[in-house]
Amino acid sequence: MSNKNIRDQIINNTRNKSNIFERMIPVILLLITSVSILATIGILVTLLSESFEFFSRVPITEFLTSATWQPYVGDGEWGIWALIMGTLKIVAIAVIFAVPIGLGAAIYLSEYASDRVRRIIKPILEVLAGIPTVVYGFFAINFVNPILQGIYSGFGLYNAVSAGIVVGIMIIPMIASLSEDAMSSVPTAMREGSLGMGATRLETAIRVVIPAAFSGIVASFVLAISRAIGETMIVSIAAGSMPNASFDVTEPLQTMTGFIVQITSGDAAFGTDLYYSLFAVGMMLFIMTLLMNVIASWFTKRFKEEY
């Protein structure tokens, strides 16, 4: 008796569900999505068109092959390699510093740490991710650099290593947290299969868990490296503003991001070469990040173990 009543109620409700609303939802959501797509397209189009204006004034060959970036000297020397090298020095040092620590922490947390330890350490790592970059920059120049200068007196006030290390510290949580998530998602059954054959925990972590979590781990690297490439505050404070294409990491340098900050907070009159160079450098940054994503994608497809 009451069954029929409930059944009727349910059927009535199903019939009454607003059809119109249901059909409008995909449209509304599409409109919302388009906002972000349009923004991306807008930025891209602006970068492209303004860069185009820059390359009508400065030959693209000079841009791509020269190693000197001196906007204030005469007509300006516009060799992007100086800025690219600056960025690469920072990123390389950051990665060399952050990957072993981040990955090591991830392995420890997912394979060795007890539940209690994990619950304490993971949030602390996430706090590290929340520290404002300006504080990091300050920390680099006032704390890390004096230590470096104590080890080797050749370090200048601004150099690649102090900024690089601190950028590395900033991206550790990204690598550690995301890699650990990826590794924890690997089913325990797989670890049991490996341990059951007499493999040690470390062998299991390296031969089974990491390959299985590979795409997640690579994704964490991509994110971290992109972040390092685009890092502006720390390098502005601690790396200096002297663009050069040398491999010397004890000298000041300037990154692409550092250059953009310097000019936009200073004197770039509209219509000058200097003004348009900002867009060219921005375009370069964008291409670098894009390239990195493509490489990572290829890398993952090639080596990952799908399950």
Binding site: S114, S194, L195, M197, E305
Partner: protein, 277 residues
């Protein structure tokens, strides 16, 4: 193949193993538990387990859910230690050596005592890499040797013909029954002496189950098998000896035909007749 066994043992820091001096019914004792107790925290999961398992026997362990049968079998290769709140008392001897106290490393124990799990758990690698995993981890690198081991193990697991032309395919592309046989091949690749099987066919269809049961009869010639099963017909069909676990202790342990035709304990009779579970 004997030299492979030596290589594997050397890699896991072999201690000299003395064959057990206890000989019953012409067959050597392979595992013996003496007053073995296990606690999960406060839960006294295994109580005074005294059981003996002989060479080349298929030993079935039956009992209702939660009776401790899986826990006991996982104690035999110390997989229970993966859970931090586990505490044990009493001995388990493998060929006369106490698996907890003697110098045998847990890695060596697990190499000599292999395990097949309830849900097939191949690695997301190729079939070849799955089977070669164990030998590689134990230091065998030469491709020719690995090729041999992989073929032998896949043959022993009755799956060579089905996969010999696609060894580089990912193991996940196989059916459940095939995956389980790959897991068996993988366990065999390190040449264990005992194979523990924790409800190996409960996730499989009837034909795969039959194939694996037939496989067990073949494997019995070279290995000792201890199988946990909640399928009583399977225990009756497949095993030589059966032990009935109930609420953490052993009610009865005897030849399989005794347990299923004329058991001594009424609880055993009731359980195998399906009067409770």
């Amino acid at each position: 193949m004997a030299e492979l066994k030596t290589k594997i043992k050397q890699n896991t820091q072999e201690q000299s193993v003395e064959k057990s001096p206890i000989i019953q019914e012409e067959k050597e004792v392979v595992f013996q538990s003496k007053n073995f107790n296990l606690w999960y925290g406060d839960n006294h999961a295994l109580q005074d387990i005294n059981l003996t398992f002989h060479e080349n026997d298929i030993n079935a362990i039956i009992g209702p859910s939660g009776c401790g049968k899986s826990t006991f079998v996982k104690s035999l290769n110390r997989m229970t230690e993966l859970v931090p709140i586990v505490r044990t008392e009493g001995d388990i001897d493998f060929r006369g050596d106490d698996i907890f106290k003697s110098g045998m490393s847990v890695e060596e124990l697990r190499t000599r005592v292999g395990m097949v799990f309830q849900k097939p758990n191949p690695f997301p690698k190729s079939i070849y890499d799955n089977v070669a995993y164990g030998p590689r981890v134990h230091g065998i690198k030469k491709k020719a040797v690995l090729d041999q081991i992989v073929e032998k193990s896949l043959r022993s697991a009755s799956i060579w013909d089905e996969v010999k032309d696609r060894l580089t395919d990912n193991a996940y592309g196989l059916s459940g029954g095939q995956q389980q046989r790959i897991c068996i091949a993988r366990a065999l690749a390190v040449e264990p002496e005992v194979i523990l099987m924790d409800e190996p066919t409960s996730a499989l269809d009837p034909i795969s189950t039959t194939k694996i049961e037939d496989l067990m009869q073949e494997l019995k010639k070279d290995y000792s098998i201890i199988i946990v099963t909640h399928n009583m017909q399977q225990a009756a069909r497949v095993s030589d000896r059966t032990s009935f676990f109930y609420q953490g202790y052993v009610v009865e342990s005897d030849d399989t035909n005794v347990i299923f035709e004329n058991p001594s304990d009424k609880r055993t009779e009731d359980y195998v007749s399906g009067r409770f579970g």
